[in-house]
């Protein structure tokens, strides 16, 4: 199949299901408040005032969001908002619990600030829902968004603007605020890729020559002249790895690039080529660059005494794992464990903290909700109209899933630890805002896809006047 045949839109019944959403949002808020209450009981033996202040503020926010959905996106998927609110709420409860004992945090004022950032994120989310009537307008700015993505990635490297936290220059400082531009670069990149690949997908789908083993066709190789985009993406990814020493973002961006390339062209050969290039580049980087080797060494020999005690060694990783060990299957209960002893317990290691205090069961629940959210995103992509919307939505859904994989995979030694943020949970404004912006796009596209087709006013055969 060299040309993609237009497919019939995957029809979804135009049912609103807002009441179901309301019920689920109420559950999410109740869980958040219960979490804060339990943490307070475990820590000080009484229900903390924060259950009402923090909990009710978060509850009011959630309710406002739900009401706004009824007005501005009545046909949107009813599961997306409750899932995100649940994750956001668990994050707030955990951060409150860590705050209550005085967790070491990076210039953050804890749970209160997290709720404020959630509010900011929700406002951004609804601004997008309200004003981005048709996401396809984003296609017009293909190369500008690409440029924006690159600039955002490079900002922390600018002297005077960049701030170093925990030895990584991922932040920029503007007055009292610090931002992590790479979080927003992610979004810009997905938008750029969606529009770029939509324009190029016909070309990129052209087959050069097939690779055969005997009579069995293994895969089709693309034409050599079409390799430029993937090479540029690859150079950017390896550059991130080597120059900015940011393995997390490098993995995330290149993986997303390959996933979207696959969706656009349906050619597995692109994925194979991309993976091959990345592995080759990473291997060379491993032998050339000390910091890459150190990362791999920490991953492979985390429990080695020497690796553990060396500066920048595996201590953080191992203490996170040991915390998860304390949690076991059922967890210690919020506030009942020592999650505050885990490094960066409220940000990079928040999943380790949850693993300790909510146990395997709690962490699997959180993962299931994240997974549900991702699959709902993919569902929206199936239902969406037009290739741009499909690409954009599946890209966003994949970024969510892949980011969770990179974070938790790092914490549990599936892959080297990179230090990325967990969507909706980790403390910090940039990550929260970026996640909510992506939800806004998702909800808008979902609403557009499920809205019933406009009714014809008069039926005159050829020409129709329609009202949108």
């Amino acid at each position: 199949m060299t040309t993609t045949t237009p497919e019939a839109p995957t029809a979804l019944p135009p049912i609103k299901r807002r009441n179901a959403e309301l019920a689920l949002v109420a559950v999410a808020v109740a869980i958040t408040m219960a979490g804060i209450a339990i943490a307070g009981l475990n820590l000080n033996g009484r229900v903390p005032a924060a259950m009402w202040t923090v909990g009710m503020t978060f509850g009011a926010l959630s309710l406002a969001a739900h009401v706004a959905m009824r007005f501005f996106a009545p046909y949107a998927d009813p599961l997306i908002l409750p899932c995100t609110l649940f994750l956001n709420g668990i994050g707030v409860a955990m951060i409150w619990r860590l705050d209550a004992i005085g967790a070491e945090d990076i210039e953050r004022a804890g749970a209160g600030m997290q709720v404020v950032w959630s509010a900011v994120g929700l406002v951004l989310c609804f601004l997008i829902i309200i004003f981005l009537k048709d996401p396809r307008v984003l296609q017009r700015y293909t190369y500008i968004t690409g440029l924006v993505a690159i600039v955002l990635l490079m900002l922390p490297a600018i002297p005077g603007l960049g701030r170093e936290v925990y030895g990584a220059r991922l932040w920029i400082g503007i007055g009292p605020f610090t931002l992590q531009p790479s979080e927003f670069a992610k979004i810009a990149l997905v938008i750029f890729l969606a529009s770029y690949l939509m324009n190029k997908r016909q070309v990129l789908s052209i087959v050069g020559k097939p690779i055969k083993i005997g009579r069995f066709k293994l895969m089709d190789l693309p034409r050599a002249r079409d390799l430029a985009p993937i090479l540029v993406g690859w150079i950017a990814a390896i550059g991130m790895l080597v120059l900015l020493r940011d393995l997390g973002t490098s993995l995330l961006l290149f993986g997303t690039f390959l996933a979207m390339l696959y969706v656009a062209t349906q050619r597995s050969s692109w994925v194979v080529i991309g993976l091959g290039l990345f592995l080759a580049g990473a291997t060379v980087a491993y032998f050339l660059f000390w910091h890459v080797r150190a990362r791999v060494n920490i991953w492979q020999n985390a429990f080695d005494q020497e690796v553990y005690y060396e500066v920048g060694g595996s201590q953080q990783l191992v203490q996170g794992l040991i915390g998860m060990g304390y949690g076991g299957v059922f967890g210690t209960g919020l506030g009942g464990g020592q999650a505050h002893n885990i490094f960066a317990a409220d940000s990079d290691f928040i999943l380790s903290s949850l693993g300790e205090e909510l146990g395997l069961t709690g962490l699997l629940t959180v993962l299931m909700v994240l997974f549900l959210l991702v699959e709902r995103g993919m569902r929206v992509a199936l239902a969406a109209t037009g290739p741009f919307n499909k690409l954009l939505t599946s890209g966003i859904a994949f970024v969510l899933a892949y980011q969770v994989f990179i974070v938790l995979g790092g914490l549990t030694r599936v892959i080297p630890l990179t230090g990325s943020t967990t969507p909706f949970m980790a403390a910090g404004g940039s990550a929260l805002m970026a996640s909510w912006i992506m939800m806004g796009v998702l909800l808008r596209i979902s609403d557009n896809a499920r809205r019933p087709a406009p009714q014809a006013i008069q039926d005159e055969g050829a020409t129709q006047v329609i009202r949108r």
Binding site: T4, E7, T10, A259, Y262, V263, A264, Q266, F303, Q305, Y308, Y309, V318, Q319, L321, I322, M324, G325, Y326, G327, G328, V329, Q338, N341, G355, G359, L360, L363, L364, L367, L370, F371, V374, E375, M378, A381, L382, P387, K390, L391, S394, A397, F398, A401, Y402, V404, F405, L408, G409, T412, R413, V414
Partner: protein, 487 residues
């Protein structure tokens, strides 16, 4: 475009599946072993409120816990150490952020959590007594340990010394210099200062945190000639009178020439030299020739019998883990010849060379070295009591006798290379060593035991980058340690 989106959905499902399986493995199956991992720093901070048992050398507590809490408040125990840096390499330190030495290896007994103390703890709970950790009695002899440490203080050079009781394997002394005062890194009232001090020592280029006695390898140099001689007797059936070519300079088909380090650069005026005389004056060329004659296999096997080349996973524990020593099988003539005199790829810890000396002292039987003599609970009833175990029969008793006679010549005037090791009124067996290490300052060794006819103590001393000779720098310290026992 829906087909690839569906496939991508399946792929994300696989990603989550991998995470969930892995999490189940970690939190469901590995949880307990993670908690018990020695790297778990929480174990230490949790235990500040418990009365930890003392570590005893001779009849003095060299480490004990002291309640520093105010009246009527819950107890807080501060660990206190005696002896400055003398015992630290063995005793280690018990910190809120980690532990080392005996404090780490015997932790479960010291803090009372060991299963063997369960009954005792239960009784304490019933009778309402404050449960206490067990008391760990070390094999160290304070006189030997202090003599060794003082020797390094006076000399002002880095190094290590190990002394072993030959017939049991009990370690009488394990000195590593420089050391540190454990009190500087264990304060629970000023934890930051403690951590800062520790971090500063981690970065110190003199490596005060390194236990050189057990965990540092050096080229053993000429002290290894004892092993070569043992192999010549055992594998080639030679005696002290057997001779072999001893040129002033040994040339090889490849590689640099090997000169002698004896006075005048000659062993026997260029004539073939006897094994006994070669050991006495520490001849290089003849010992290299012995190694080449017996072959790399035979030499390496003999070293293995003394404790070199441990199998993977079979490394010694005393109970701290000991860095393995190596004497690999060599084939190249120039490398094999140099291996015969303890250079090239031969590397040994001070403990390993002390084992060589004590094996010869104990009729060829190497005893398993150990540091913990006994563990008593708070009522002084015995929890564990060490019993000597044979590590290996490295050589026949007759071979050991011959080697002893040769080593006595080393401390015998006029020709002996280790006259500083001699103790008036008795025969002392010894062997000096000066090891090249690629810098312009050699490592200087002395191994030996006394009295030669009824050995009470075997020692190995190494001066790191001493730049002198084993006889001048290491032998005096070895002699002082031996005198602490035999005089």
């Amino acid at each position: 475009m829906n087909t690839p989106i569906r496939r991508l959905s399946v792929f994300t499902m696989a990603l989550f599946g991998v995470l969930m399986l892995n999490l189940t493995w970690i939190q469901g199956f590995q949880a307990q072993s993670l908690i018990e991992d020695p790297l778990n720093s929480r174990l230490y901070s949790e235990r500040l409120s418990e009365a930890r048992g003392p570590i005893i050398v001779g009849d003095e507590n060299v480490a004990y816990s002291e309640n520093i809490a105010e009246e009527d408040s819950s107890p807080e125990y501060q660990r206190v150490y005696e002896g400055g840096g003398v015992y630290t390499p063995v005793v280690g330190s018990f910190r809120s952020y980690g532990a080392s030495g005996i404090e780490a290896t015997e932790n479960s007994l010291l803090d009372g959590s060991d299963d063997r103390l369960a009954v005792r703890n239960f009784r304490d709970i019933i009778t309402g007594r404050e449960p206490e950790g067990a008391r760990v009695q070390l094999t160290l002899d304070p006189a030997v340990q202090e003599a060794g440490y003082q020797g390094f203080v006076d000399l002002g050079m880095n190094g290590a010394a190990v002394a072993i009781q030959p017939d049991t394997g009990a370690i009488l002394g394990a000195v590593s210099y420089p050391s540190y005062d454990a009190n500087d890194v264990v304060s629970i009232t000023d934890q930051q200062a403690a951590i800062d001090n520790y971090t500063a020592m981690e970065a110190d280029e003199d490596k005060p945190l390194l236990n050189r006695a057990l965990n540092e390898r050096y080229a053993p140099g000429s002290t290894f000639k004892v092993v070569t001689a043992a192999a010549a007797i055992e594998k080639l059936g030679k005696t002290g009178e057997s001779t072999i070519d001893a040129p002033d300079v040994r040339e090889f088909p490849s590689g640099p020439v090997l000169p002698n380090a004896t006075s005048g650069g000659t062993c026997n005026g260029g004539e073939p030299d006897s094994l006994a005389h070669s050991i006495q004056i520490s001849c290089n060329t003849s010992m290299a020739n012995w190694a080449i004659e017996m072959g790399g296999e035979a030499l390496s096997d003999q070293a293995t019998a003394f404790g070199f080349n441990p199998e993977e996973g079979e490394e010694l524990r005393v109970p701290m883990s000991v860095t393995p020593s190596y004497a690999p099988v060599e084939t190249d003539e120039s490398i094999l010849g140099r291996a015969g005199i303890g250079q090239s790829n031969v590397e040994a810890t001070p403990l390993q060379m002390a084992m060589v000396a004590s094996g010869i002292a104990n009729d060829g039987e190497v005893m398993h070295p150990y540091l913990v003599d006994s563990v008593l609970d708070s009522d002084m009833s015995v929890v564990t009591q060490a019993s000597p175990e044979t590590y290996s029969q490295a050589v026949e008793p007759s071979t050991a006798d011959m080697l002893t006679d040769m080593m006595v010549l080393v401390t015998t005037p006029p020709e002996g290379s280790g006259l500083n090791g001699a103790i008036p009124g008795m025969d002392v067996a010894g062997k000096t060593g000066t090891a090249e290490n690629g810098t312009d300052r050699t490592h200087n060794w002395f191994i030996g035991f006394a009295p030669a006819d009824d050995p009470q103590i075997a020692v190995a001393v190494v001066i790191e980058f001493g730049g002198g000779s084993g006889g001048s720098l290491a032998a005096p310290i070895a002699r002082q340690m031996m005198e602490a026992v035999v005089l």
